[in-house]
Symmetry: C2
Subunit: 338 residues, 2 copies
């Protein structure tokens, strides 16, 4: 009841193992007739190439790795990751590449996992997410000479191939939109300040506000609804309450919406809300949330494509994906207009 090997096929076909190998890999050295019988036998007995044996001959492992460093509860609420993974997958499975996934608790464990996977020959490359400033993973992976794609801004990815989108431009567009509606005091409820994209958004937000003469403030959170709610409460109960808030994800924006309703603030008359990342959630609440949407699966697919090219030995330039598009919905409007 063992798994069939090419030796079994060879015995059945009355040829050597090598002839079978040539036949199954569509390389010259076997007659067409023989190739066909061999393939027929292989199909009949359900032969599958043993990936370990192939990998041993210097072949690719045909797998890429991804680690994710977020607590389970947060991760569940973040459509981003699942959609990203889904996009990565679409590209990988088309080429029969497998995805190895591991949850980790920190950067140290993450590089350790990469080192093991790479050393064990389990993966041909990895995808890095949640880029930090001076990210320790970058030099470590460069040192390992492990093919890698980083989802994050090129300024911090060292020699690794970046895949990114211009969050600054999207932020500018959003602030301009709010200013055009008549807002003069705006705020931002941001994610983890250690992440590169958080800071880039922070900067773009501040720069755009300054340019347009808006007063602005920022609160950093851990992306959870609770912190989003807390930050919103703090912002709207302070002096000089903002008339618009831009959130770094949709769960916080929904939390903010609830807080506003709790505090009897009319949305959007008293407070306008914008969510970054446009999931079905944004459209399901009332009023629906104005959101910065982008095609996240496509983003993941792009990263996977770059990585596969890199693995194939091609030179890969950084790839900039589409900028998030602002979709105005009911949660934004002119301030004070009922």
């Amino acid at each position: 009841m063992k798994r069939p090997t090419i030796a079994d096929i060879a015995r059945r076909a009355g040829v050597s193992k090598v002839a079978v190998s040539y036949a199954l890999n569509d390389r010259p050295g076997v007659s067409e007739a023989r190739r066909n019988t061999i393939k027929a036998i292989a199909r009949e007995i359900g032969w599958q190439p043993n990936s370990a044996a192939r990998a041993l001959n210097g072949a690719r492992a045909r797998a890429v790795g991804l680690t994710v460093c977020r607590p389970a509860r947060v991760l569940g609420m973040e459509p981003f990751f699942m959609e990203l993974i889904s996009g990565i997958e679409s590209e990988l499975s088309a080429r029969s590449y497998a995805l190895l996934l591991q949850m980790v608790t920190g950067h140290a464990q993450e590089t350790e996992v990469y080192r093991r996977w790479w050393g064990e020959g389990r993966v041909d490359g990895v995808i890095l997410v949640d880029l930090h400033f001076d990210d320790p993973r970058v030099p470590e992976i460069e040192d390992m000479a492990l093919p890698a794609v980083v989802i994050g801004h090129p300024s911090e990815t060292g020699s690794l191939a970046p895949v990114w989108s211009d969050d600054g431009a999207a932020m500018r567009e959003t602030v301009e939109y709010l200013a055009a509606l008549g807002h003069r005091r705006v705020a931002r409820v941001a994610g983890l300040p250690a992440l590169v994209h958080t800071v880039l958004r922070d900067r773009a937000f501040a720069a755009a506000c300054d340019e347009l003469g808006l007063t602005h403030s920022v609160a950093h959170t851990d992306y959870t609804g609770e912190e989003g709610a807390r930050a919103t409460r703090r912002l709207v109960s302070g002096a000089n309450r903002p008339t618009a808030i831009v959130y770094d994800n949709d769960i916080m924006a929904v939390a903010g919406l609830s807080v506003a309703q709790e505090m009897r603030l009319e949305v959007p008359a008293d407070l306008s809300l914008v969510a970054w990342d446009d999931s079905p959630l944004s459209q399901v609440v009332r009023p629906a949330l104005t959101a910065l949407g982008r095609d996240i699966p496509h983003y993941g697919a792009q990263a996977a494509r770059s990585l596969l090219a890199l693995i194939a030995g091609e030179h890969v330039a950084g790839v900039q994906t589409e900028t998030a598009r602002l979709t105005p919905r009911g949660s934004t409007g002119a301030p004070g207009h009922r």
Copy 2:
């Protein structure tokens, strides 16, 4: 710049490859002194066992597989999967097992993926989710003799090891709770009717309602917010509008809440809402949603543990995990009571 192998270590230590193999695997046949020097060298040059070479000697692949069959958009909104994966992971990574993940488009592709993974020797076992009635995957996997754990009710898992929770009991508790509040007309917005757990919940819902003398109705959806909203609209605009609705996930419950507010129905006075699966989302909306919560990561961890035991050759009985707990919040109350 090649990866170091035991041959490199052997050369450095001035012994044979075999001595190195024995030393590194902590098996007798090498002196303690030599074992230590060998281990020191291995650490120094950063040696990692090549998993392919090990696998070739009949060793385990030290990986398990999981496929998920849902469109990206739905998946992103389903905290269930990410939390489940997170729980599976926690158990696997503790034993240095890897998780292979693949998105598929249907059962046919799914068994094909399993067959390939198993044939290629990439995985030692798999975890099945989204069990259907007469699920074609069950006999296929039995036939392959591939170790597998099924997340689903034991009545449909054949000889495969089930990991399940008693949704019927949770549903009964919920209906009893609603009846005690004074509800007489209740409805249920369910998930995909092809899934075993949907039908089991349907049955338990109907049985409990009949027993308590409540009129009841059910609408089936695909778990998306849009369908949840549609179903809600249909239910509340019909004659004999229900005073309470139980949803099969939280995104639909949130959508239902928005519909209620849109239609100027007071929650919970005019309409009480209950969500199955208690994510942060339930607590972030106003009023907060009464929800049926359970520890999903724990559920996943349990499945992983069972699978690892199965792979280790142990006999594994089905495991029943905790029943979902009802957490009453602001979205439920006595009908008509303002």
